[in-house]
Symmetry: C4
Subunit: 125 residues, 4 copies
């Protein structure tokens, strides 16, 4: 199956949100889960869109060949800019080679945890 | 990548439901999360389908260029009509330019919250 | 947009499961949420696959034109056969006209509820 | 509809994670839910990708004709290797005939359960 394109170069996740509060032993967080099935590294450029301000463009992240990275959105940073907590936003993931992208959120705002997950929306190229 | 279509003009979410009850500090709610990656505004027409009555057609909503909006379904209104709580319904989102649509629900009917999320189902045009 | 096909004739949901236990005010249940955007009725044939026995084939259900139905899987029945609780199964939804299918589960086995949801997997025809 | 391809030969799930802790009566677990609508058996090869080590390649699993299997990831094994708990990973499912793949996780790390689910990401072949 070596000639099949495994994934896409561009993915979108409209519902991003970092909860402000955690309770219990698990921290509220989101992850952008990226799988790179190729031998080469995947160079990601992650752009964050907001409701009422300009985007933060092209935060960089590297996913090595034959590896997955479950990227905490709170760890993304560019020129001192980070994604603010408690603010609705959306995510664009552009990759140098095809990858597969899933988004998951764990919310422990109230004392027991909640989970949600969805595949990103791929754009054909 | 400027010539690639980023998103779709028509999206569906069959499982809409606004919970009647909230407990704790978080209000039960749903959001239609829309991302517009273009410079132009996206003009949305949102139609609501029910199990046993005629649809509410073409509620309007604007998503500005390079912005996301996480639209609370309880805030949608047309000629005094709103989506009733505690009633199963379905959502159609038609947009003037391609957008990406995700649906999420937070339910705090019982005292700890639950989350669910899924991409909308896009129709190719 | 009247000539665009809005949905698909065949959908799959591999993870079906009716929880055996409910606690609190909400009953554990699953729903197959179907949206029919056309004027004509959609005649559904729902087939249930199991891990270790023959399928239950072609349970019938009607979704009227311009309506949605959020079908409780526990309400499906054919010749006295129903889907057993506490057993892993999978769902096939075949429709006479294109529809959109989403699957959701509410689990209140332990005293606070949990939710999950995903679009069905459509087959192109 | 006998000539339509029902499913895909290759599926991806980037967000795999076996929770370390369970509380209450339900065990934390994940399932890869596979539906085989054909008469022939589907021979699966499941490859697991990690963040910082080489993949575990091609664990075998059989899904008989006209059956579904909800595969516990903790039950997968190859030459004594199993998927470690508490470690982020990603899943590739390759099948000898077309199947449909959904992924679900039940987390009871804190005392009430949480659920998440998504269809796998199919690759066209």
């Amino acid at each position: 199956m070596s000639t099949i394109q495994k994934g896409h170069l561009l993915w979108y996740i409209p519902d991003g949100y970092i909860p402000e509060i955690s309770q219990g032993e698990l921290l509220s967080h989101e992850s952008i889960c990226v799988l790179n099935t190729y031998q080469e590294d995947a160079e990601l450029k992650i752009t964050i869109y907001f409701e009422d301000r300009e985007p933060i463009e092209e935060m960089n992240y590297l996913v090595p060949g034959k590896r997955t990275k479950h990227i905490r959105t709170s760890a993304l940073e560019k020129n001192g800019q980070v994604i603010p907590v408690g603010v609705p936003y959306a995510i664009e993931v552009e990759s140098s080679i095809p990858v597969i992208v899933q988004y998951s959120r764990l919310d422990s705002t109230q004392s027991e945890l909640a989970l949600m997950s969805t595949m990103g929306h791929p754009v054909n190229s």
